[in-house]
Symmetry: C2
Subunit: 344 residues, 2 copies
């Protein structure tokens, strides 16, 4: 068996997966109409691991594009502490690629009992999570065989974007070029990604930084790299980094900065300056990477800021794959992990 064969294939599949998700725009718009007919006043989002990052992306979408206050759920308040909040007027949206973790199903069941409109966004609508929710949204990425999630993550982001865009009266038009742009991004990134791998391979720590819509990308980068390369990797929002952890940054720090055109760019540039000031070796990924004080700079085609996370995660996945292979690991089956994580 060739290490990384599955991960490599599933990364390459994403342009096609995006086309498939886009082809289901009408179906997703119908689901959005059904959800938002309830006129939720608050949105609660649940998810763990990569799905937690997707949930955080959805939090930015709902707050910024829909003007709805939103928060991420701590599943333990339900699963361990049996809290029973009043969830009338609340939309509870749970994300899980497998839909198989007992805690997510439990959170949704409890939310339903407490009056919430419950929605599951999962790549397996027939799963316990899909069955527990009033409304199950099929991500439709096709079966994912690699333990390390790639195409289910990006497809989940796209499905969430299309739901929210439909809720604000959009028709997902800005997402149309995604399949083509994804293909170009995957092809173009190879050289710069290989250069990043050369730099990161012998690093002793990697810091992933993003802001706003791109914070989930930084978090996903840290998780992908940690679970496949076993390197100590941490993600921070740009501002939170400056509130303490920046003190630990020095010449042995490898930093991965997600730099996009848009409203977060000036604040992100401040963060990259702070990293450079402390001697960190910064690699940049994103549509604004070309202007970042970084090396290498992995540029990604420009999209509206709220859609950028769907595209910018592709070189992140390529980087995680190649870094793991260069360190002798097999990212298809990281040690000690399974496809469905059963937690409470």
């Amino acid at each position: 068996v060739t290490p990384g064969r599955l991960m490599s294939a599933e990364i390459a599949e994403q342009p096609e997966v995006f086309a498939n998700v886009l082809a289901r725009r009408q179906e997703l718009a119908a689901v959005a109409a059904r959800i938002f007919a309830r006129k939720p006043r608050f949105v609660l989002l649940a998810g763990r691991g990569s799905s937690g990052h997707a949930a955080r992306y959805a939090k930015y979408l709902t707050e910024i594009l829909l003007g709805l206050p939103a928060g991420q759920v701590s599943p333990s308040t339900t699963t361990l502490y049996a809290a029973q909040p009043d969830l009338n007027d609340v939309l509870l949206l749970a994300v899980s690629q497998s839909g198989g973790s007992p805690d997510m199903a439990e959170v949704v069941e409890a939310g339903r009992r407490c009056g919430a409109t419950t929605v599951a966004v999962t790549n397996n609508p027939g799963s316990p999570l899909g069955s527990a929710a009033e409304i199950a949204v099929d991500v439709g990425a096709g079966p994912e065989r690699c333990v390390t999630a790639t195409k289910t993550y990006s497809a989940t982001l796209l499905a969430l974007y299309l739901l929210v865009d439909a809720a604000r009266g959009g028709r997902g038009g800005t997402a149309e070029p995604l399949p083509e742009l994804a293909r170009a991004t995957l092809d173009a990134g190879i050289d710069a990604v290989s250069e990043a791998v050369r730099r990161y391979r012998d690093g002793d720590r990697i810091l992933c930084v993003g802001r706003g819509y791109s914070l989930p990308t930084a978090e996903e980068a840290a998780l992908k790299i940690t679970e496949t390369s076993y390197l100590p990797t941490t993600a921070f929002g740009g501002a939170d980094l400056l509130h303490g952890p920046i003190a630990a940054v020095g010449a042995t720090t490898m930093a991965l900065a997600i730099c996009n055109h848009g409203k977060a760019l000036a604040a992100m540039n401040t963060t990259v300056d702070a990293l450079n000031d402390r001697g960190a070796r910064v690699c940049a990924i994103g549509s604004a990477a070309g202007n970042a004080v970084a090396d290498p700079r992995i540029e990604v085609p420009r999209l509206p800021e709220e859609l950028a996370p769907v595209l910018e995660v592709l070189p992140v996945q390529q980087l995680a794959l190649r870094l793991a292979l260069s360190r002798g690991g097999d990212p298809d089956s990281p040690r000690g992990l399974r496809k469905v994580t059963r937690t409470r």
Copy 2:
């Protein structure tokens, strides 16, 4: 100047600080009455760094003890993206020890314009944050001169607990023994803390893990250690750890597990088992540390689970202080940090 002199003195001050906060119970109860007379339906919490961890503690308190759905705010949705959600029926509670970061004041000002009841919990009620909020709660920890926050963190937790306890009709009685227990904890921990320092000193990464109410303690531990010892230190909730990052755990991983009696203990034990299975060297802190498969075990007197975070952070602070000193640093002024972090 003796390194760590300020941090050491302010750690030692905490029993007295707790007594001072407890003496203001009636004042805090009056503030709680004023806040909850508005009958908020949803609570949003804001904070960065240590104050972000305190905000997360308050999130557990409001969800579990008050049955109110709660979420943590991403300040950037206001400061960068200018989102204007409908915040009627929303309580927006912002935490900041200095009250001086522009983003927190901006979040509160925007929240107020959008209809929220705004509350600032700060050690400096005359600060921009205190002035921006409709209601300013004085933490009352006295001036903190060390850049690394210690007494303002624990005092903020206690003030938040007393506010929430008053809102559910309590009178803070269970918190009464805190000054005495804090003194005993500080005295008793020294030997075990020194042993933990010996083990961690040459580690190449530290993983801090907690669940439920004790997750903020794990996050605070990671931040304290990172900002004073410059070691790569990451915090995870026990369940999130199992969704990926556990793959990176091996024989060179030092783990700090916060283990408390209470509803999260069984789930936390599962996490400690997983860490031991992978060869990590686990140190435990908390009221249930004595039963953990860990060495050293730093026991803390047992309190109701929701109050434990106020006490269990004391040996965490001692550990961060001594680890920094043993590595030749000065935790009173970590490189590149200031007392007030100005972010947007």
